[in-house]
Every structure is written in C-alpha cells, then in structure tokens.
Symmetry: C2
Subunit: 392 residues, 2 copies
C-alpha cells in the first residue's frame, strides 16, 4: 500500500504508478476537484468517462457542510460521493487562508468564520487530521499555513515555521489514529461507518513562498521529520508570475527525493501542467477545467476557446476534433454556443466534461512522450500549437 | 408512416404503437420537454437512460433563439439536439399567449415581444407551420389560440373559432410543403440541411376551454376538416380545477375517434397522467418532472418528497427504492440533500433524471396494467399509496 514505482524518465520528468487503497494511479496525473463532494456539474459516471483516476475533495468545505459526522454516517466520503477510486482530501489550510471573512491564526491553529452560516469554527492540525481520517480518503494532507505569492521573506518564514510545527502535530495525530485502528481500538466517533477498513496516508506540504532558500530549508526539515509516502508543493500558483513558479520548481527538483510522488497543489492550466511535468511533478489538481467550463471557456489543442463567440453560431464542427469525450463526439460548436446563450444547464456540464477530459488526455500524452524519451520534443510541438494566435 | 395501432384496452384506456419517421413509440407515453432544444439539466444520453421514446421542443423558443435558420444549418432539430428518436414541436401558440410581455392578436396571427431581446415578432399559422417544417420534427402542431382555464363562454368561443380558422391555414400550408417536398421542388430556404429526408405530420389542437358544448363542436369541426394522424387536446391544465379537467376528458372520450392517438398537452403530474390514461389519453408532455426536480421535489410511489427536508440529512436509503434510475441506484437521500443544500448543479440533474424516469415508468406500468385488463385495480392501489400522508 502507498507504493510508488517509477517507470520511464525523460530528463527530470518521469512516469510512475501510485498504489493506494482504492486503486492504482498512473502518473503524471490530473485530479479533478470535488470541493463539496462533487466535481461541479459532473456525475461519478461522467468522471469515470473522462478517465479520471483520482479525485480531490476539500476538508474545510465538507467539515462546514454537511459535516464529517454526516458523511461518516452515510458510509464515508467514497460512499457519500459514489466514487470508488482513490480520493485525496486537502487539509483545509488553503481554504481558511483564502476564503473571505474573519480568521485568527495562532500557533495552535486557525479560528475562522464559516462561509455557510457565519458561525465560528476552529481548525487545528489535530482536528484537520481527525476530520480527514473520518472522511476516509486514501491520502490526507497536513494542515498548512499558506501565504500569498508576493509574501516577503519574514512572512514566508513565519508561515513555514508554523507549517513545520503543524506537520509534526498532524503526523503524531495521524500515527495515533493508525495505531488505534491497527489495534482495533478506534474510538466510536471514528467508527461510525464502514470506511476505516483500510489505512490512510498523510502527505506533508512544502511552503516557503517564492524564496528559494526557504523552500530548500523547508524541504530538508520535512524530510528530517519522517519517511513520507508523498510530498506536496503548496503555496504556488497563488498570485506569483508563472515564470517564478517554474523557477521555484526547477531549482527544487534536484533536491526532491526521487522515490516518492510530488504533488503540485492547485495547478492548473494546460501550460502549467506541461511546464511542471517537465520539472518532475507527478500529481496536479485544479478547479480550472470546471470553473472555466462553466464560464464557457474550453481547452483545445489550439488554445482556449470561448464558446460564446458569435463565430460558432452555425459551426457544425466539434469543439475539439481530436477529443474523444461525450461533448466532442456528440455535439456541435453551434449547439454548445446555443446552450450558453440560452443559459441551459447542459452547457455547463458539457464544457466541464470536455475540459476535465482534456487535462486527463494531456497527462496521458505526456506519459506516452516520457516513455518514448521524447518529452521535450512533444512539449515544444504542443506549446507551438497551443499558443498560436487565432480562433481554431 | 404515422400509423397508430391499438393493442390492448381496459375501459376507455388503451395501449398503442405509434410509428413515426424516427421510430416507434409505445403508448401511453410521457414526453419530456426540451423547450430550448435540451431537456433541462439532462443530456441525450440521460434521456435514453430514462427510457424516453419521444421528446417535445418549443417552436416559439427555438424561433426566437437560435432561430430555425441556425438549426437548419446545423442539420435540423434532431441533429442539433443529438436526439435521433421521435420529436414533436409545439406550434408556439401556447407560448405567445402565456409568456409575459406585449402581444396583439388578430385573425391573421399574433404579434409578440421576444422574451430574449424585446424585439417584435409575428407568428401566423403559415409561419408556425413553416418554422416547424424547417425544424423537422416528426410531428408538428397546428397554431392555436389558448385561453385561461377560467375563460367565459364568449372568450372560449372566440378562441375556438380562431383556432379552427388557423387550423385550415396550417393544414393548407403543411400540404403545400409536403407536395413540394414530394416533387423535389422544395425551396432552398427549406433545404439548407439534410433533414427533409422524411415527411412530417401535422396534428390539430382542440380548444374550447371548460365548456363541454364548445369542446364537442370543436371536435366535430376538426374531424370535418381533414383526416388527421393524431389529435391534441389543448387548453387544459391552464388554471382550471383538476376535477374539471377530468370531467372534460371523460365527457369527450366517447366522441374521440378511436383509431388516432390522443395527446393531452402540458400534462402533467403523476396523478394527472393516471386519471387521463383512465380516460383514454395516449400521449403527454410536461415540464413538471424537470421543474420540480430543480426545485428539489422528487416523485415517489409514496407521493412527492422534498429532498431539502432535514429528515434526510443522514438517510442512506435511495430516493425511491423501487426505481432503477442512475440517481436511485447510485446515491443516498443524504447525499442528494447535501447537493441541494450546497447548491451543486449535480443535484438539479439527478432529481430531474429521476422524475423523468418516474413518469416514464408510470406510463410503462399503466401499459402493463391495461394489457392484463386491470387498470382500474392498479390505479386504485397506486392512488392509495401515492396520496397516503407522511414522509416516506
């Protein structure tokens, strides 16, 4: 369990197989985001059809509504959202730092105001770990302190120190839960459902902003704290320029332990996936495909397209002729444009479906390119086409 | 083509097989409504999964947006909405009389204000017929003047006379289009796409409000005007009490020609379908299953259920244990409630899907009951359970 086997490599890029309690995942992989226990506008059947291997859900959102106790009574997160393949839960760190409204941070944890009912809540490393254990995802994330992309050295240092202290507490609590589970002594409050029939793993999150020395120090100290089954890179794609993100990844990569998977959180757009895979990243998640889809923007090999464009009014061609998704094999651009003009719900779903499939195919293509040792050539071709001007 | 074969009978109720250019339809049948060329929140694949045999679309809405010319250029309505089974288009009569905003009626037709851009438009019997020909549905409806359920005799008489005059004009125009199509002389404006590869039939609409004498006179005069392949009953379920609607149907039934299918427009709710099938109706359409589904109301054998009810918070049971739809075989009431509480798009779709499947199964069950000659007993049992008090 929680094994990662590296397959082919092409420079820093690599393919891998990640074994988790609910299945194996071929990397590089894109994980669609099911913030509230559903990938917006898509059903579990749609997700399977996109080829999704692993889905992310948000601890903060599910804790606030419906509450992890409700999800436990309904059989745990897998059963609740009818997704029987691997799941990863974010720790809630990013959410409490990025959502609007009151929050107070101290070394113990974060007091926040619920975006649902305005009520006060507290997340600590221990609570975030317990909630994730109750949800029952295959992979839980450590509770972290995220700062914006432009944070100065002192701010980023402060958040890094707190994140490292919190990581120790998360790891301790997670180890306790694992021990009790192994001994069959799990407390009733964590046994409400049938889900703890498998263990869960905890991944640390590396912070440090855009400050290379901090990132390196953070990485060194994380690796000193334990033997991890995966490592997340957080605090990127949070407002800093794309070039800066790529530089941080590039400088970090030689120092990352090769044998464990690297997960770049909250990324991303197609061009970010390609750039990060070239820099040795294995896992990704982002709301971009579904959020953009709901706005009428579709990813295509020729770059993003806004389906509301009047040019598509009588366009009988598929959105993306190279795509095998339900949207592209069934519907014309003209029909999709009509759905958006008429504000029909089906449009939101069809573009979300296509965009998720697009990113999953992109990862598939990169795996194939790495296997044949030609990622650089593939990426050059891909970028030339994706960034060419003009409506496809 | 356009044949209707009666199978079994049970009192006035009967089963039948309606043969149309895009397939055969077993009656009694419920047609989901795709107002704007999409059954709201459902994909063509969802519709097939519900067992839908025939779908309705609205001439008024599609004329206003995207325009029948656009749909013709995209291959006609079947191709446009990716539905390869039978389609019926309403004539636009009901819409121009029921939508908000300006309208002016004279004997020539109706001038109306578009709900999309406020622009003025005109629908006449000839235009409504031409638009429907261009859309290319299997069944077109005559352009009619609809009055509210409480209309007095003079108002209902006036609308009936106009509807009858308009029916003659629709029939004349439809016959001209058919002739030209048969002769291969169809004008270019009606040949933009590949769809006129089959003929279309036109059904009259019986008006007359709740005035029995008017209904009977209207029926007699419609039957004198031609040899129809089907007959619609309009102007019911427009504000009159349900008991009044049932009385009108009951009094009308012995006078309806048995050999052609009877289509009760805009109906309905489960109890209305059962009552109308008992009174000899064969086809139905209504937005109730999708509109109610989007509001969180689900049809079940134990009556309607509002999924937002707090009682369902940790309810792991399916919405309807007897149902074979994706919603009921995949998701718990607790999860569906969460989707509505969290305003997730998937909830709108899952309840719409279930409600459509519910009405289609209801029609299937009635067909089986009629075949075994036991509709009355079945309907008694069904009503007892459907109307019992208490949350299921």
């Amino acid at each position: 369990m929680f094994e990662f086997t590296i397959g082919a490599t092409s420079g820093p890029a690599r393919t891998g197989t990640l074994t988790l309690p609910h299945g194996t995942v071929e990397t590089p992989v894109f994980m669609p985001v099911g913030t509230q226990g559903t990938v917006r506008a898509l059903s579990p059947g749609d997700l399977r059809a996109t080829g999704a291997e692993m889905v992310l859900a948000n601890t903060y959102h599910l804790h606030v509504r419906p509450g992890e106790d409700v999800i436990a009574q309904l059989g745990g997160l897998h059963t609740f959202m009818a997704w029987d393949r691997p799941l990863l839960t974010d720790s809630g760190g990013f959410q409490v730092f990025s959502l609007e409204g009151f929050r107070r941070v101290d070394d113990d944890g974060v007091e926040f105001q619920s975006h649902v009912d305005g009520g006060r809540g507290v997340l600590t490393p221990e609570r975030a770990t317990e909630i994730q254990w109750t949800l029952g995802a295959d992979v839980a994330m450590a509770f972290d302190h995220v700062v914006s992309g432009g944070a100065d050295l002192a701010t980023a240092r402060d958040a890094l120190e707190r994140t490292l202290k919190w990581l120790e507490r998360c790891a301790r609590r997670h180890a306790e839960l694992m021990e009790r589970w192994k001994d069959g002594k799990m407390e009733r409050s964590f046994q409400l459902s049938n889900f703890p029939s498998f263990p869960q793993t905890l991944w640390p999150i590396l912070q440090g902003g855009t400050h290379q020395a901090l990132r390196e120090e953070g990485l060194r100290r994380i690796l000193e704290l334990g033997s991890w089954t995966g490592l997340a890179i957080g605090g990127l794609s949070v407002g800093e320029p794309k070039a800066t993100m790529y530089q941080v990844l590039e400088a970090l990569e030689p120092r990352l332990p090769a044998p464990i998977p690297r997960y770049l959180m909250g990324v991303g757009f197609p061009e970010d996936l390609v750039a990060a895979v070239e820099r040795g990243v294995d896992l990704f998640d982002c709301v971009a495909p579904t959020r953009n889809g709901r706005n009428g923007t579709a990813f295509t090999p020729d770059g993003p397209v806004n389906i509301r464009n009047a040019a598509f009014r009588t366009d009988g061609r598929p959105l993306d002729a190279s795509c095998d998704c339900e949207t592209c094999t069934t519907h014309s651009r003209g029909y999709l444009r009509h759905l958006f003009a008429a504000e029909e719900l089906l449009g939101l779903r069809l573009l979300s479906l296509h965009n998720v499939r697009y990113l999953i195919r992109l990862a598939e293509e990169m795996r194939a390119a790495i296997r044949r040792g030609g990622l650089a050539a593939w990426a050059g071709d891909w970028r030339r086409r994706y960034t060419q001007p003009g409506i496809p």
